[in-house]
């Protein structure tokens, strides 16, 4: 791992080239995985939003003494 920008860009380009020449079936398999990952991120994001937006239930006397 490096923090040199030029090296980072070069390694990114090399990765893209490697991915480009993969067999088609392999690239399509990666599409399946990328989509599943996006869905998982989307679901967890939605759950986080729901948790934030849920109105707080005011503590009752019973809750306080528990």
């Amino acid at each position: 791992m490096t923090l040199q920008l030029l090296e980072i860009l070069q390694s990114k380009q090399a990765l893209r080239r490697r991915l480009t020449v993969l067999p088609i079936a392999e690239k399509l398999r990666l599409l399946d995985e990328l989509r599943e990952r996006s869905q998982t991120i989307g679901i967890s994001r939605a759950q986080r939003h729901a948790a934030v937006e849920r109105p707080a239930i005011p503590p009752t006397f019973v809750d306080a003494v528990r």
Partner: protein
């Protein structure tokens, strides 16, 4: 591989006479030429078959066919093997040509028709949204476009001026 099920289903639709020809476009189509491009859906250009005795074509036979095979519909998408698929009639002469001149690939034994790299590049240029311009740059960087073929398509569809502007803006560092 789930997306392979989509390809198999589309081939079966063609064999069963539900659609005429088809060609995969969008990010999935581009993935045949570039690195895998994350996408949430599959765009398939199709030539719909007119129903006997009707002048207008309708997507209804396609919807009924897929519904009978357990595919659900949500908005403009039909879900095949969990992938939202959009079946699109060609909206412009460029896409009509792309459909006719699609390239055949073999995906682990499944024949698959895909929009050519040059047509995908021209469609991106025609659409002109930021993500399309980014994709066009990817095609150029990957060196997968045949210059003569690209120029011919650009000329046929009156896109040469748009291409020159794109070149000035993105490839010559001007504009």
């Amino acid at each position: 591989m789930k997306i392979k099920e989509v390809l198999t289903t589309v081939n079966q639709m063609q064999a069963d006479g539900i659609i005429d020809r088809y060609a995969i476009g969008g990010a999935v189509g581009a993935t045949f030429y570039l690195e895998p491009i994350a996408t949430l859906d599959v765009d398939i250009f199709v030539a719909f078959r007119p129903e006997p005795g009707k002048l207008l074509v309708s997507p209804q036979p396609l919807i009924d066919y897929l519904a009978a095979r357990g595919c659900r519909m949500e908005g403009e998408y039909l879900f095949i093997a969990d992938w939202p698929v959009q079946f699109l009639p060609p909206p412009t002469p460029l896409v009509e040509e792309a459909l006719v001149e699609a390239v055949s690939f073999d995906v682990e034994g499944v024949p698959t028709r895909v929009v050519s790299a040059e047509h995908l590049a021209c469609i991106a240029l025609e659409l002109g949204r930021p993500k399309d311009k980014a994709r066009l740059l990817q095609f150029i960087e990957a060196g997968v476009l045949a210059p003569a073929r690209l120029e011919a398509i650009l000329a046929r569809h009156h896109l040469s001026d748009k291409w020159q502007k794109f070149e000035v803006q993105f490839l010559r560092g001007e504009g």
